[in-house]
Amino acid sequence: MKKYHVVVIGGGGTGAAIAYDLVKRGFNATVLDRGELTSGTTGRHHGQLHCGARYAVGDRAIARECMEETNTLRKIASESLESNYGLFVALNDEDEAFAPTFIDACLESGIPAEKVPRKQALLMEPKLSDKIGTVVQVPDGTIDAWRLPLQFFAGAQQGGAVIRPFCPVTGIEIEGGRAVAVRIRDLVQKKDERIEADLIVNATGAWAPQITKLAGIDIPITPAPGTMLAVRKRLCNMVISHLHPSGDGDIIVPQRGLSIIGTTQYKTDDPDDIKVPREDVDFLYRCADEMVPEFSKQPFHAAWIAARPLAGKSESIEDGRGLSRDFVCVNHGEHDDVHGLMSVIGGKATVLRAMAEKTVDAVCHELGVQEPCTTTETPLPSHRQYYRKGAK
């Protein structure tokens, strides 16, 4: 087969997994990021490995995919995961009424949700509030939001991908209705460059409209920033979630020596112009204390904010929660008459590999390549491999 060259714009988790999948299917791949890898939304993730329980009531298909991808990541990237399961805890009568629906939805999505006696739950996590009611155990976990993508980048690099942080894209060249090259500014070498591509994948998440604009295309993405708060003590081993329909401040994720509570959600126009609203910090402390009362007594570690990319126009929504968390791969050849350019929109950290598989399936279809995806079986190289001498 002809060795096609695919340029991936965006060095977040999605770009990492796409580059890995591309080289595994025989493509040449170049990844470009305007700054350091995972310096946009990916790295600032609170780190929950979502088994899908949180989504099951709303969307069984997404929940099922999360479960499958959780299992796959445990197989191929175990060094970037704390695989300690999670507990959903009911805190009031409304939660209790919701519990049976929640458990049924999980089981229907292939998630082995299991009711745990209250006493047993307190033996698993002694710092849980003694006011908890029904407790449901699910196979959640914790992701290292920097090292998991690095493992994919290491695999991509091993397969010949060229990964170039600090190379912002300044233009997309279109000839005869087809995107044929990107222009970049290489900040490391301080020079401008033109890179030819058989296909360009825009994987810049909340920044995607800025890239498509270079090709004269407007795409509907709403940056939805959310605040996270970490205290300097690991209070639990399992992920603790509020057993209710999705809402703000309902997940405590342990990670290393930290406990992290997330998150809130707004909508904004500019993903670069985000600041932690201070009222969020007090709100998150209160939410965390309802589940783990010692949370707010621990030393403050950090509060930060990340702009998730949600598919949809901001006018059509109240607070961002109405927007889909699903992932869409848009072929701009079909939608905007600019061939050779695709944008991947939305999605979740846990399903980065599956998003990459669907994207590269679409790339293969577009370029007439028939190669199956093979990213579910082989364990990825260590995150450090990406930076080892001679690895490039």
């Binding site: 939001a145 920097w146 600090f166 970490a230 690991r234 950090a302 930060w304 080892r388």
Partner: protein, 231 residues
């Protein structure tokens, strides 16, 4: 919320492009919660779109944003501007890593120095006797070390030295894989190993995640002494 204007003197240029280095000034209004990384983000957005610095997690877990802040190695994301002395704030790239330009550095030499096959997962020390889900053999967690290189930058040893981060990782491997004892102690006892340490303890002082590398170096020394005593 109170705000205050602060001036940052940032070392620009350098790296493979051979651009001459010079300090440039950037002033901005900051609230009392702002970190050095927050300030860099806003400087990049509002004043210097081509400013290079590394960052990812913004909460001290990735280890990418190490830099020299007023002469000391620090993580930009965990350093509150308000806690720095009044006057200009001087930012330079982290010592001991290859400069890429501005404040960005390459961690290749550090990452290459870590023991090749060392794992990143350890048993959790929290609630050790707790009950567990049937499918969870043991509660586990990531290693404390976030590979930021601050300890390597702070270490005053001038001779060839594997350095605190690498030796701490070796001691963690010894704890996790006692069957590799001979090989690990051999690496630790090399001429560039634990005996180069001058016990200045700077590594433990600057470590943002309480790895206490100096303690690991002392433990390795003790293990080496046991070995030589046994011979």
């Amino acid at each position: 919320m109170s705000t205050q204007e602060r001036n940052f003197r940032i070392l620009r240029g350098g790296g493979p492009s051979g651009t001459p280095v010079e300090f440039k000034n950037y002033s901005l209004e900051l609230n009392e919660h702002a970190t050095v990384l927050d300030a860099l983000e806003w400087i990049r957005v509002e004043q210097a779109p081509d400013l290079m610095y590394r960052h990812s997690c913004h909460h001290g877990s990735c280890g990418t944003c190490g830099m020299t802040v007023n002469g000391k190695p620090k993580l930009a994301c965990l350093t509150k501007v308000e806690d720095l002395a009044a006057g200009d704030i001087k930012l330079e790239p982290l010592v001991g890593m290859e400069p890429l330009g501005d404040l960005a550095v390459s961690p290749v030499s550090l990452m290459s120095a870590y023991p090749a096959d060392s794992g990143y997962i350890r048993e959790s020390e929290v609630n050790k006797d707790a009950a567990r889900p049937e499918a969870v053999e043991r509660f586990e967690r990531f290693e404390n070390c976030i590979e930021c290189g601050l300890c390597m930058a702070a270490c005053p040893v001038e001779d060839e030295f594997q350095g605190p981060a690498v030796l701490a990782a070796l001691n963690r491997e010894l704890a996790k894989t006692p069957e590799r004892r001979a090989e690990i102690l051999h690496a630790a006892g090399r001429p560039d190993g634990v005996y180069r340490c001058e016990r200045a303890l700077e590594c433990s002082r600057v470590c943002p995640t309480a790895v206490y590398p100096a303690k690991h170096i002392m433990e390795l020394r003790k293990e080496l002494e046991k070995e030589s005593g046994a011979e």
